[in-house]
């Protein structure tokens, strides 16, 4: 079981490394969106500090959306998805591997970048740490839940826009607890409760999402 998950992750990472431009584009999207906010709302440090958790988290959601359509689309186009669906292990297991690979490629860089961007918003060190931690805990859930949407909109007209329509409402709890954790730190309350709930969402998202995703993929392949 672990072997096949590792095989999927290894293959997807290798593919991602062969076309790094996609990853980099999504990262720059994240950076640009975050940097636009001070230009829109003004440079007052107090205001920026209050906006920072929400802005960074919303930008992280949007940046994740950007890479989701390709999660299955390439495999679908060249016929690899059929082979994966016909492999002797459960498709959900393969999806699980792909979700992890997606997070390593699309989620983890956001976690590493966010503190740097947080400095632009005049966040204190402890808030920066919690920001990175909340993203670290929360972004796997984004990949997991997003996979469901990516599978449902596979090969569908206007898939990209539709994908955001389906997935963004489901992201709301992650957004609330993620940004809430940073908020709580800023206002002097502990972030513990938020982070625990975020962890619960991630566990749920990453471990349950592969099943509906696999079902949706089989439907898309019919």
């Amino acid at each position: 079981m672990l072997v096949s998950i590792r095989a999927v992750i290894g293959r997807d990472l290798r593919l991602a490394m062969r076309r790094q431009s996609d990853i980099i584009a999504a990262l720059f999207f994240f950076i640009i969106v975050v940097s636009l906010f001070p230009l829109g709302v003004g440079p007052e440090a107090d205001q920026l500090r209050r906006l920072a958790p929400g802005v960074l988290w919303v930008a992280a959601l949007l940046a994740t959306m950007l890479s989701l359509p390709r999660l299955f689309a390439d495999d679908h186009r060249d016929g690899t998805l059929e082979q994966l669906a016909l492999a002797p292990q459960p498709l959900a297991l393969i999806v699980f591997g792909k979700v992890i690979a997606h997070w390593l490629v699309a989620g983890l860089p956001l976690v590493l970048l966010a503190p740097v961007l947080g400095i632009q918003f005049d966040l204190a060190n402890d808030a920066l740490a919690i920001l990175a931690l909340s993203l670290l805990i929360g972004t796997p859930a984004l990949s997991g839940i997003g996979a469901i949407g990516a599978a449902l909109t596979l090969g569908v007209r206007g898939g990209g826009v539709l994908l955001s329509l389906l997935v963004l409402p489901l992201y709301i709890p992650v957004l609330i607890f993620g940004a809430g954790a940073v908020d709580a730190t800023l206002s002097g309350l502990g972030a513990q409760a938020h982070l625990s709930l975020l962890g619960a969402l991630t566990l749920g998202g990453v471990f349950f999402a592969p099943w509906p995703t696999a079902a949706a993929l089989r439907i898309a392949l019919e």
Binding site: G10, A87, Q89
Partner: protein, 218 residues
């Protein structure tokens, strides 16, 4: 081993075929024929369990394939229209990772040997996007060289191949049948498969198709 009873296919609002019955045993090959759009690919995908049948049942070793699930898939090798070749990876990486995903052990030497057999020697480490259409098809077909699973379902295996490669693939299928394997394939090119107990199935007109045994070459 593979038995199909009363299979029916509906695509959109059109009934492509109905009442398909056949039985295929070890060492036998079924050769699907019909015009474009007669449902050949759909039938193959049904045999793999990718597309659910509108009616009828497919049995493998006496049990419905829907029930068997992973057990059945472990004995199935499907080669579709698309090559399932990643453009970014080299042919070698492609077949090694494909084998690993199919839970097979394929060491590098065997893989290189397979690529050599299909004439991709010296191209093992070139990203597939630089290969020609025919070479990509060869890379995909190199899977068959060391493939030991019992049921091969091949959709147009000869497309985009030159004469030598066609003969090679026909030889691989022949060897597979001699080992007691089963093969179902579609093609528009008449190719003689050596030493095969051949059966033909004609699809068309939405009526019950007829199965013919023909020991003659096609």
């Amino acid at each position: 081993m593979l038995e199909v009873s009363n299979l029916e296919c509906v695509r959109g609002e059109r009934r492509l075929f109905a009442g398909i019955n056949f039985r295929l045993d070890g060492g036998e090959m079924l050769y699907l024929q019909g015009q474009n759009g007669s449902g050949k690919t759909s039938l193959l995908r049904m045999l793999c369990g990718l597309t659910p049948a509108a009616g009828g049942e497919i049995f493998w070793r006496g049990r419905p394939i829907g029930q068997l699930g992973e057990e059945f898939r472990a004995e199935l090798c499907y080669l579709g229209h698309q090559n399932a070749i990643k453009e970014e990876l080299t042919p070698l990486e492609n077949i090694v990772s494909a084998a690993r995903l199919a839970q097979e052990t394929l060491d590098e030497d065997t893989a290189v040997d397979a690529l050599e057999r299909v004439g991709l020697r010296g191209r093992e480490d070139l990203a597939c996007r630089y290969l020609s259409q025919g070479q990509k098809r060869r890379a995909a077909l190199s899977r068959l060289v060391h493939e030991r699973r019992a049921l091969w379902v091949l959709d147009e295996p000869y497309v985009a191949l030159d004469k030598a490669a066609v003969d090679l693939v026909a030889g691989l299928i022949g060897a597979h049948l001699q080992r007691g394997g089963l093969a179902v394939l579609t093609t528009h090119q008449p190719v003689a498969v050596p030493a095969a107990a051949l059966r033909e199935l004609w699809l068309g007109n939405g009526d019950a198709a007829d199965v013919r045994d023909s020991s003659a070459r096609c």
